[in-house]
Each structure stands twice: as structure tokens, then as C-alpha cells.
């Protein structure tokens, strides 16, 4: 039996469910938005393709960075702001960074009040550990300890706490529902989304005056990634297909310590607690690359240093293709108390006990700094043909799917969880406020709805062609080869060509299994369409940014070029062209931080 008992979905017979607000994604940002809305009494639903606690926020380990002044009573959110601006290589928007760092403490305390089981200091306060790129006194006061932690399971603790708070608030979950495409009306307002219940295969138009894309990252565009299998950029794909802009898509963070061979993450907290990286000679090589911060330089710097060690023949192992993370000097007690999850993961995926042997690690795709551009209220922004910004009515984005942009060219460790909760909440608050003032969104026509049904109908109608799994593998290999830590024009152009061929192949996806009940092959075929959009946006934006900044490092343009590229990149699917957008240097409460040479 096909979807809705039919071979073909059409607006005239498609069932409709109507809500005040829809949140797509049940991770940290989605659940923070939904909590805000549920508490306000609005009729909202969380649409999540997995049961909410299966979302990728659950995998975050080291902590949530925030100047709550536990470890250092003099800590200051302005210092956190300085670190974040510097970490972003100066293309983070300073109004957003200011908002996040200043609002952060109240939000972290609120999470604690909800029950989040943070680790504690001897005084009974929330425990904070050192993370990369952190400083006191605007870089002049040495290493800070600013990352609030629940052992090394902070994401798990945070996501479960938020789910629990939503259970308490009576949030309505559409759990294991897959969102396919946004429905826009002729005024380009977003009126909701086409989605289907995976269990029954029943598709609906979920109509809403406010739709939040909280769909997370897309690390699965790469072959080797720390990301969950579900991180396929669904919201980003939907935005691109809807003709909206994406921003800074070339900026992908490669985390220094993915377990070699498996890709699973071991937290930066390992180095925060005193672990360090060594090459095959046992040398603590980060002392050469970052004499002050050493292993706690920011992630882009550490990842590049590791790759240079490997390229120059000082890698570890029989293939000399990784480095070692040494922690045996920390003692089994500390590992047990502060890093129990890492100990478990190392045993399972690297077959080593970190109390005795070093962990084989390699830089691994981890996080998208880029995404759907928004303002601090989570409202999605797109760019007009004259280069000016405009708000996309009815649409919000938050978390990794969004680019607000607090991370710019490189995210600091622990800032992603803070981003999720602060901007998940601010989107919720703005929706609540807008409802009070009245939202005017025009109903979509049947044609508008049918437009959003095009892809699913095509996949459902396929009778021959290629299996999506093989196409996905080829896409991931291309991204890995051409858009890794070090990039060159020659390599990227090759990659762009292959992606173009892959696009033609996806026109021909064959869904062999047309059954309706929990058809995971259908979900995977639709996910591939999203991965393709994200990959192509990444590839073309990367080739266009002719400089090295943050995580984007080019052998052919090794220097940062502030004259031409102290800018966001903006990409549209239809034109496949990249334009520029100004970075915000107008914080409200402090003087803007001006660019300087970034050393650690």
C-alpha cells in the first residue's frame, strides 16, 4: 500500500493539521523553543524524525560554555564574547555573540533548576572545565575554565532534562514524523510544511503561522564524521529548495579528536582536563604551533596542526595516518570521575583503555558553522537581488541548522549547546510575542501545496534507476576528498564536477520498496536530497571564498583577506552563485572587537 493509500499525493485530498506553531526537530534548540511555546499555552507541535531523546544533542560531551562565574568569581560574559569573536575569525555577528554570552548565565541556571545534573565543585556550585580558545581578561589573563559540565555527558543530560521539562509542560510531539518540504504562498510567506508519519506512511500538510527549523547539522555529507546517522541537513535542504539563502556554508569544523577509523567523538574536555596530543615521536607538537594555548588552541588551529604532522610524516600507526591523545598521566580516578563516557567509547571503538594507552585520533567533520541566516530572534533572513536583507515571514531557524551567526568561521567548544538553548528560546519568545500582536499569513493555494509535494511524488513514482545508498556513498567520498581540512581550487573544482554528476543521478533515484509502514528506505532517499543540497552549497561557497579564514583553509590562498572577505558568504540553489553579506560589528553594550591577527 502506497502513502495515503494512493500512488500520488495531491493538495485537494491531502489531510491538513493546523497549529499555531510547528517546530521541526526535537534536539536542544527545538525542545527549548517548544518549551517556551508550550508554557505560553499555544497550540504547537514538535515534528521529529526520531523520538526526541535520540536527537544528536544527546551526543554532546564536554559541556556548555558560559560565564556563570563558578570556577572564577570574576569571570565576565564580555571575556567570553571576546573569545568567541576571536574564535570566529571575526566573521561572527557581534550583536548575536553579545546576546548569547550575556543571556547565557540565566539560561544555564534555568536548565539547572529544571534538573540538569551538572557536576559540582567542592562549594556545591556548577563545575566548569577549561576548553579551547578560552581566556580571561580579553586574552590577557591566561586560560579560563568556563565550560559547565555534567561529567562528559552534558548533551545527554541537557537533552533529557529538556525532554522532561516538555513532558511536564504538556508539549505535543509528532514523534517519528519526517518533514519533506516547506509550503510557501505567493507572497513567499511560509505557511507550514509537508510531513508524514513514518509509522503509517500517512502524509499531511501541517499548517502553521510560525515554523521553526531546528533540524540540526548535516555532517553526513562527509564520509568521516562525528555526527549521528540522522544528521542529514533536512531543514537546510528544505530552505534551499524553497529558494532561500544559506550563509557561510564553506565553514565546516573538523574536530581534532575523532576516534581514528570509527569517527566517534572524544571531547575537547580530555585536553581541558590535562590530556595532550603527541606525534609518532611522542612529541607534544602543539607546543610548536600554539606556544601559549598549546592543546587548547581553537579547534581549527589544532586540526590543521595535526594534519600537518600527518602530512609531514610524523603520524602514528602503521599507516602514519593519525595522532595520539595521551591521557594516561591523568590517573584512573580523574578519568572515572570526569571522563567516564570517553573511557567507555575508547574501549568500544578504539579498543584502548585511556588510563593506560593513548587514543588514536584524527580531525573529523563535526559541526556546520554555516546554515540558514537568522537575526537574534531566530527569524530567517534572505537576501534580495539588490543585496539587502529581508525577513522570511512565518519562518524561524535555531541551533546548528541556523547561522545567527555566533560561530563565524570557527566555533569554540561548548558554544554549540549555549547557542541551542539561547536561540531556541529567543525564537520561541519572538513567536509568542508575534502571536500576541497578531500574525497575518495568507493561506497557500493548492498549487503552492502541490509544489511542496513534487519531490515525494517523484520518489514514490520511480520505477527504475539507482539506489540512494550508493549515490550517498559517492557524495560522501567526494566531500571528504575535495572539501576537507586543506582545500585547493583544483581539487574543489573536481569535486564540484562530481557533485554535478551526482545531482543528475539523484534525478533518477529508484525507491524499490513502496510500502507505507515505517519505510526507512523512503526516509533515506529523501534525506539524500537534503544532503545533496547541503554538499553543493558547501562546495560552491568554499570555492568562491578565496582566502583562508577559520575552518576554511586554502593552500592557494593561505592568508586571511579582510579587504575582500570580512564578509558572510550567501548562496542560492537556483543561481548556484555566491554573494556577500556584511558582518555585524554593532553590539549594543560594548565596543565592537576589531579584527587582529589570530594567534594562540
Amino acid at each position: 500500500m502506497a502513502m495515503n493509500g494512493k500512488g500520488y499525493l495531491d493538495a485537494s485530498t491531502l489531510p491538513v493539521k493546523e497549529y499555531d506553531g510547528i517546530i521541526i526537530g526535537g534536539g536542544g534548540s527545538g525542545l527549548m523553543s517548544s518549551l517556551q511555546l508550550a508554557q505560553s499555552g499555544m497550540n504547537t507541535a514538535v515534528v521529529s524524525k526520531v523520538f526526541p531523546t535520540r536527537s544528536h544533542t544527546v551526543s554532546a560531551q564536554g559541556g556548555i560554555t558560559c560565564a556563570i562565574a563558578s570556577a572564577d568569581p570574576n569571570d565576565d560574559w564580555r571575556w567570553h564574547m571576546y573569545d568567541t569573536v576571536k574564535g570566529s575569525d571575526f566573521i561572527g555577528d557581534q550583536d548575536s555573540i553579545e546576546y548569547m554570552c550575556q543571556e547565557g548565565p540565566a539560561t544555564v541556571f534555568e536548565l539547572e533548576n529544571m534538573g540538569l545534573p551538572f557536576s559540582r565543585t567542592e562549594e556545591g556550585k556548577i563545575y566548569q572545565r577549561a576548553f579551547g580558545g578560552q581566556s580571561k581578561d580579553f586574552g590577557k589573563g591566561g586560560q579560563a575554565e568556563r565550560t559547565c559540565a555534567a561529567a562528559d555527558r552534558t548533551g545527554h543530560a541537557l537533552l533529557h532534562t529538556l525532554y522532561q521539562a516538555n513532558v511536564k509542560a504538556g508539549t505535543n510531539f509528532l514523534s517519528e514524523w519526517f518533514a519533506i518540504d516547506l509550503v510557501l504562498n505567493d507572497q513567499n510567506q511560509v505557511t507550514g510544511v509537508i510531513a508524514f508519519e513514518i509509522e503509517s506512511g500517512e502524509a499531511f500538510f501541517l499548517k502553521s503561522k510560525a515554523t521553526v527549523l531546528a533540524t540540526g547539522g548535516a555532517g553526513r555529507i562527509y564520509k568521516s564524521t562525528t555526527n549521528a546517522l540522522i544528521n542529514t541537513g533536512d531543514g537546510t535542504g528544505m530552505a534551499l529548495r524553497a529558494g532561500l539563502a544559506v550563509q557561510d556554508m564553506e565553514m565546516w569544523q573538523f574536530h581534532p579528536t575523532g576516534i581514528h577509523g570509527a569517527g566517534t567523538l572524544v571531547t575537547e574536555g580530555c585536553r581541558g582536563e590535562g590530556g595532550y596530543l603527541i606525534n609518532k615521536d611522542g612529541e607534544r607538537f602543539m607546543e610548536r604551533y600554539a606556544p601559549n594555548a598549546k592543546d587548547l588552541a581553537s579547534r581549527d588551529v589544532v586540526a590543521r596542526s595535526m594534519m600537518l604532522e600527518i602530512i609531514e610524516g610524523r603520524g602514528c600507526g602503521p599507516e602514519a595516518d593519525h595522532c595520539f591523545l595521551k591521557m594516561d598521566h591523568l590517573g584512573a580516578d580523574l578519568l572515572h570521575k570526569r571522563l567516564p563516557g570517553i573511557t567507555e567509547l575508547s574501549r568500544t571503538f578504539a579498543h584502548v583503555d585511556p588510563a593506560e594507552q593513548p587514543i588514536p585520533v584524527v580531525p573529523t567533520c563535526h559541526y556546520a558553522m554555516g546554515g540558514i541566516p537568522t537575526n537574534v530572534h531566530g527569524q530567517v533572513i534572505t537576501q534580495q537581488s539588490n543585496g539587502s536583507d529581508s525577513i522570511v515571514e512565518g519562518l524561524y531557524a535555531a541551533g546548528e541548522a541556523a547561522c545567527v551567526s555566533v560561530h563565524g568561521g570557527n566555533r569554540l567548544g561548548g558554544n554549540s549547546l549555549l547557542d541551542l538553548v539561547v536561540f531556541g528560546r529567543s525564537a520561541g519568545m519572538h513567536i509568542e510575542e508575534s502571536f500576541k500582536n497578531g500574525i497575518d499569513i495568507k493561506d497557500p493555494s493548492k498549487d503552492d501545496i502541490n509544489k511542496a509535494l513534487k519531490n515525494i511524488n517523484k520518489v514514490n513514482a520511480s520505477t527504475e534507476g539507482e539506489n540512494s545508498a550508493k549515490i550517498k556513498k559517492d557524495l560522501q567520498e567526494t566531500m571528504q576528498l575535495s572539501f576537507g581540512v586543506f582545500r585547493t581550487e583544483e581539487n574543489m573544482e573536481k569535486g564540484i564536477k562530481v557533485i554535478d554528476e551526482i545531482r543528475s543521478r539523484t534525478e533518477n533515484i529508484h525507491l524499490a520498496d513502496k510500502s507505507s509502514r515505517f519505510n526507512t528506505a523512503r526516509v533515506e532517499a529523501l534525506e539524500l536530497l537534503n544532503l545533496l543540497e547541503v554538499a553543493e552549497a558547501t562546495a560552491i561557497s568554499a570555492n568562491e571564498r578565496k582566502e583562508s579564514r577559520g575552518a576554511h583553509s586554502r593552500d592557494d590562498f593561505p592568508e586571511r583577506d579582510d579587504d575582500n572577505w570580512l564578509k558572510h558568504s550567501i548562496y542560492f540553489k537556483e543561481s548556484k552563485e555566491v554573494s556577500k553579506r556584511d558582518v555585524n560589528f554593532r553590539p549594543k553594550l560594548v565596543q565592537a572587537f576589531q579584527p587582529f591577527a589570530r594567534t594562540y
Partner: protein, 245 residues
Amino acid sequence: MNSIAAEQITTLKMSIYRYDPDSGNKPFMQDIDIDIPKDKDIMVLDALHLAKEQDSSISFRRSCREGVCGSDGMNINGKNGLGCITPLSTVVRKNKLELRPLPGLPVVKDLIVDMTQFVDQYKKIRPYLIADKESDGTAIPQTVENREKLDGLYECILCGCCSTACPSFWWNPDKFLGPAALLQAYRFIADSRDTAREERLDQLEDAFSVFRCHGIMNCVSVCPKGLNPTKAINEIKKMLVKRAL
């Protein structure tokens, strides 16, 4: 596995439970042979992905693939576990790997069970902190010792391996809360910040909610996170008995 030379490959015989209620067919075991590398101890989930390359209609849940999200609880050669952190070497016997859905819950399709009953029991214990004092806008203080009482409790990933391995839960899935929900009940009872301990105990004080646990300890033996629900249940029982005296 096309990039691996033939001499480095071995064949694993998989047998996978298949059921699609929409098809009108009865459940059956599907035999699939997959090629796996000889020198690498892949996980059960990796093996399932290889099987799905041959037959894309095989359905199972998966997400984090590192044992923290709790999606891929299943019955592996007779024992519940997470596919993504179970190496083949620890479960394959006589070159055979049999995969079935978690027992005791309705099957939605193939290895996917309907978790509604499981989640409903979890929701019943009020799985959230109840603190009657108005917040002063900062953290509620907690000593290191009190925080340590939550270790071994808060780490639950709601995979369902324990409750679906429990005969008491099979018999009374609506009245006996089951090990997973009870572990979380104790997680909040044990939290020094929670002020609803007595109400929580009141709610558990009947013949079924807690006391249907007969200490069989299947939950302990299958928990992929190494947690001990039986111990938590015994702590609750002790508190209830002490109160009654």
C-alpha cells in the same frame, strides 16, 4: 565492502525477523549472507547496514551509532542489547547472527517495536525535578556527595533493553512500571534538589508499581550502559517499607 580483497572477507549468516502487518503475511525469519572483513570486529549495526544494502526494505531504528541515543535496542542472538556497540565477536556463535525485535512490545515492523507503553510508564513517574522553592535565578546548590548519588541513574538512554527483558514487565506492562521507569523514579527521589520525595513514594506504594519486581535481574544483565535498575528498585522498596513501619 567492494574495496576489500577477497581473501580478507568472510561470510556471516544473518537471520532477521521480518514482519509488515500491512502485507497480510505472517512474521518470518529472513536469511541473509553478508560479507564482512576478517580483520575488523564490526558492530551488529554495521552488519545490519550491510544486510540493508542487499534488501532495502529491512527496517530498524538507528541514530547516534555510539551507544548514547538508545535507538537500536534489539534482541541479538537471544539477548537484548544495542546494535551499535555490540561487536560481532561478543555475540556471534557458529557464524550465525539472529536479530529479533525487543520482546514483549507490539511490533510495528521488522525490528521496530511500539514504545508507547514503555514511554507511558516513564511519564507516569513524573520524570522531572519538582522543587517547591522559588528559584533565586541561580543554581540550586548541591554537594559533590549528593551529586554522586545520581551517578548510575541519570545516564539511562531509554533504549528499553531492560524493561523488555523483564518477565514482570511482560506480564503487567500497564501496572508494573518496569526497570527503566523505576530507575528514573529513583533518580528523582535521590536528587537532593527534589522536594517531592514523599509524594513520589506515595505514588509507588501499591502492589504493582514497584513490588512486582522479583529481583530476577535480567535488567542488570542486559543494560548496555552498565546501570543497575534492580539496586535502584531495592532502594525504593526499602524506603517504602521503612515508611510503613
